[in-house]
């Protein structure tokens, strides 16, 4: 049945249809105001499900789409799906509000922008609220597509097109791989439903398709969430308008991969490969992202790498959280591995708040100063005080400083990383120590780039000579969305538990369902002060080392020269594209020469090879001599004449001789028909040969003067070998076919019946007009078409005046 929930998912798509109409109809009102109603209504609509999921209940609504293939549009709401739905619609409201002030009504084509944005919103809702893998995949690809359209929104800029293409290629590659994984899951479980797959997960863990399915699905999740080494598309996607970057590339789309990992954790998390892959890719991405962010000079570049890094952090926590499944009786309230999942979800929300506000802050700076280059910026603190406050709160939260929400999730992250070393499975106790070490190092770099973001932009000397416009504070409407977001940063920082009961606990139940007994529930209590724990010392270490490194940056920034631009993953991607194109061009131009001679060569060699191989592979080659007829003297003479004339045709220097030679061949064949007693054939062959020789002579006479230089046929070894091979093959097959007579021929029937049934004594003619008249009918049709073809070719000369 099609319920209100289904309608809520596709409502953005329906709204997108009306956007261009409203844009044309009410051109004096900014289209964004109409669009704003869609996420607002949806946000309020999804809020009503909070009590449901808090009570550990789920909502399922099935709408049959392609029931014969097991594809249903199943809307499914549980804690995880609702968390994402609220995130998508909530940030959606703020982004649309921000874009109203960011995008000019006069200069931009707003209808395309909001159409794409709504498409994206609907697709994201579809991804997080679908229970059917194929439907999920469909929405997943629509997010890729709409993201492609949004990145290339300023399509007249070359860099936008480049970034859009890059993100498209990488995410669609991952998406296809994910589809493969879904199909593999289906072959194992026989269902596309995620919940049914989870229910069957214990049966498939030893299936030999389990690992391929996991790897292919993970490739989709890692590319979408910009994990190392697939993160390269995200910095280039920063060519999109800033509201798009804030929405897609910080809060929603890049978390689709996180969502998928969290959603399928109950299926895969029991295996060690899952733990190592998720945690390993996550921690690598965390470090590489934060390390690369420090060297960026573009504000959005910093934020892009920062997003990459934070996503890696969330992913690594989900990986550690999977370790919880390996304990049979664990205390739900006080378990670090369960805590890692809590931390992942908490940081997911935190990241959406502070990263969204930071992107909007950067957008304001860009909008008001005309540049995003930190080398040109500085001293904006007194000019843009509100923007500065937003930047400070957002960045400090990102760096993990108290009293903001980033501090809490970072502490929980350190706990998870520290405790994983005590884990006694999958060799973690041996190599696990690298996790806290890398996490700590990465946090230092996170601290550094967060400081760069704030102080290089707002502190220091004001350089008005490098700016094109005179900077001033942004209008209030533009500041509203980031202010709301940083307020949330503070509120979640001081009162984290308003999230834990409502959103995080139900979401945890979706990620780790097997840990809950009947009636049990997760109990999450995030508290601010947790004593003098090692995590706190780690944070103090991060701050002190980070400060030290930030202040002495000029001394050590040279190490980035160890990673020059020409050996990076970007270069690898660019080279792969360029080399791939060049290689395929080379392959095509190497064999598609445009000469018929070459194509004939391929065709003949293929047929010869295939036929000879089959003939001997199937051991079909037999020569029997019992049923052969005796050879008469006439046949020998005629054969000698035939061979002699064929040789003349092949070796003669003059075309006239070749034509006459062909004529001799034709007449000899007519004579063969005579001695093999086929008078009708002989008669026809004689006349047809005469006609065709006459036509050949006609062609010969009309050859243009230049081509009349009589040259010998050049001898080419390749052609010689091929023609020899073709001749031999056909001879072998002829001999074999003659030796393998499996059935009596049906000619006996014709001999008996041609007079009785058809009243004719000439059997050939009776077959032609009576027994098999249909063939004859179509053959005369062929003749007719040939005649009309010749007529039109000669009469209808366009003389080059009319271009075809």
């Amino acid at each position: 049945m099609f319920t209100a929930l289904h309608f809520a998912i596709i409502a953005p798509f329906i709204a997108a249809i009306f956007v261009p109409i409203l844009y044309k109809l009410f051109s004096r009102i900014h289209t964004g105001w109409f669009v704003l109603t869609v996420p607002t209504i949806l946000f309020l609509y999804f809020l009503q499900y909070l009590p449901t999921t808090a009570n550990k209940e789920t909502v399922t609504a099935v709408f049959d789409w392609i029931p014969s293939l097991g594809i249903h549009f199943t809307a499914y709401i549980d804690g995880l799906g609702l968390l994402f739905a609220l995130l998508i619609t909530g940030i959606g409201i703020l982004v649309v509000l921000y874009s109203i002030y960011y995008l000019s009504k006069e200069r931009e084509s707003l209808h395309t922008f909001y159409t794409f944005l709504l498409m994206f919103m609907g697709a994201m809702l579809g991804v997080v609220l679908s229970d059917n893998l194929i439907v999920l995949y469909m929405f997943w690809e629509i997010t890729s597509l709409s993201s492609f359209l949004l990145i290339s929104y300023w399509y007249e800029r070359e860099k936008s097109i480049y970034g859009a293409l890059k993100s498209m290629i990488i995410t669609v590659m991952g998406g296809f791989s994910m589809l493969v994984g879904f199909v593999l899951l289906y072959t194992m479980t026989g269902t596309f439903s995620i919940q049914e797959t989870i229910a069957a997960s214990s049966d498939i863990v030893s299936h030999n398709l389990f690992l391929p399915a996991m790897l292919t699905i993970l490739l989709g999740a890692l590319t979408k969430s910009a994990q190392f080494p697939f993160h390269i598309w995200l910095p280039d996607a920063m060519e999109a308008p800033t509201p798009v970057s804030a929405y897609l590339h910080s809060a929603t789309m890049v978390k689709a991969g996180i969502y998928l990992v969290a959603r399928l954790s109950p299926v895969f998390a029991i295996s060690g490969e899952w733990f190592w892959l998720i945690a390993g890719f996550g921690i690598t991405t965390l470090f590489w992202g934060s390390f690369s962010a420090v060297r960026q000079t573009d504000l959005k570049g910093i934020l892009a790498f920062s997003t990459v890094s934070q996503l890696g952090m969330i992913l690594s926590m989900l990986g550690v959280g999977a370790a919880a499944l390996h304990f049979d009786n664990l205390d739900l309230e006080d378990n670090v591995f369960v805590g890692a999942t809590t931390a992942a979800l908490f940081h997911l929300i935190n990241h959406a708040t502070f990263k969204g506000s930071l992107f909007m802050m950067v957008g304001i700076v860009d909008h008001e100063t005309g540049t995003r280059d930190i080398r040109k910026l500085g001293g904006l603190m007194t000019i843009m005080p509100i923007t500065f406050t937003i930047a400070v709160i957002g960045s400090f939260s990102m760096a993990g400083l108290p009293p903001f929400n980033g501090f809490l999730s970072k502490e929980m992250f350190f706990t998870a990383m520290r405790e994983i070393t005590k884990f006694q499975l999958f060799n973690v106790d041996t190599y696990g120590v690298i996790f806290p070490a890398i996490a700590w190092l990465a946090s230092i770099f996170t601290f550094i780039y967060s400081m760069i973001l704030v102080f290089k932009t707002f502190n220091g000397k004001f350089k008005p000579e490098k700016l094109d416009v005179k900077p001033h504070e942004a209008p209030f409407g533009m500041l509203l969305s980031p202010i709301i977001l940083v307020s949330l940063v503070i509120v979640f920082g001081f009162f984290p538990n308003i999230l834990s009961y409502t959103v995080i606990e139900p979401a945890m139940a979706s990620i780790l369902p097997s840990l809950l007994q009947e009636g049990e529930q997760f109990y999450v209590d995030i508290y601010f002060w947790h004593g003098w724990t090692p995590e706190l010392y780690m944070t103090i270490g991060v701050i002190s080392v980070g400060l030290f490194l930030y202040l002495g940056m000029k001394k050590w920034v040279g190490i980035y020269r160890l990673f020059p631009d020409n050996i990076s993953f970007n270069t690898l991607y660019d080279q792969a594209i360029v080399k791939g194109e060049r290689l395929s061009e080379k392959i095509i131009s190497s064999h598609m020469t445009g000469f018929i001679k070459d194509y004939l060569l391929y065709i003949f060699s293929f047929f010869t090879a295939a036929l000879v191989f089959t003939l001997f592979h199937k051991e079909a080659f037999i020569i029997e001599t019992q049923n052969l007829a005796p050879v008469s003297i006439y046949e020998v003479i005629l054969a000698v004449v035939l061979v002699a004339s064929v040789l003349t045709v092949m070796f003669t220097k003059s075309r006239l001789k070749a034509i006459i030679g062909l004529g001799v061949v034709g007449y000899t064949i007519a004579l063969f028909f005579v001695i093999f007693r086929a008078p009708d054939l002989a008669l026809t062959q004689l006349i047809i040969e005469t006609v065709s020789v006459a036509l050949f002579l006609l062609c010969f006479y009309h050859l243009p003067q230049i081509a009349k230089s009589l040259e010998t046929i050049r001898f080419q070894l390749g052609n010689f070998i091929i023609s020899l091979a073709v001749g031999t093959t056909i001879t072998l097959i002829g001999l074999t076919a003659n030796s393998n007579r499996l059935f009596e021929s049906i000619s006996g029937f014709f001999i008996e019946n041609s007079y009785n049934e058809a009243g004719g004594k000439n059997m050939v003619n009776v077959i032609l007009v009576d027994f098999r008249g249909f063939d004859t009918m179509l053959e005369i049709l062929v003749l007719g078409i040939a005649a009309f073809g010749i007529f039109t070719m000669i009469k209808l000369r366009l003389e080059g005046k009319e271009q075809l």
Binding site: I687, V764, N765, V769, F791, K795
Partner: protein, 140 residues
């Protein structure tokens, strides 16, 4: 210089009818002896080609004011028509039959529906050969 083809043209006037009659003989004889629509048609057209060779295109067009494209079309229609004709007798497409009839002068004769089909073939063959030859011949 205009060549004088009097021998050729006189010979043609005689030979033409012999060839034509022979071709018609071969055509009608096809059911029992070697021959039939295809060879008959080719021979008829070779008789006409002989005419073309000894006179010229304009003269032949004057003597035989026939558009051979239409002959081809008629031939195809006859062939398909005989096939469809069998529907009238509730028989499958292209069913043929024959019977013996006694005629006043000729005596008992066999008449086969296959002959009608063969007429189609005959006309098509004449039509296409002469269309091709005339088209190429008119081309400068």
């Amino acid at each position: 210089m205009k060549t004088n083809d009097v021998i050729l043209q006189t010979m043609t006037n005689v030979v033409l009818f012999i060839v034509l009659i022979f071709s018609i003989f071969i055509f009608f004889n096809g059911h029992h002896e070697p021959g039939g629509g295809f060879i008959g048609g080719l021979m008829t057209s070779s008789a006409l080609v002989l005419l073309l060779l000894s006179y010229d295109l304009e003269t032949v067009k004057k003597v035989l004011p026939i558009d051979f494209k239409i002959v081809t079309a008629i031939g195809l229609l006859v062939a398909v028509g005989t096939g469809m004709g069998s529907f009238l007798f509730d028989a499958p497409f292209l069913s043929q039959t024959y019977d013996y009839f006694t005629f006043p002068v000729l005596g008992e004769l066999e008449l086969a529906t296959a002959l009608l089909f063969d007429i189609g073939v005959y006309l098509v063959v004449i039509g296409i050969t002469l269309t091709i030859i005339q088209t190429i011949g008119e081309d400068k």
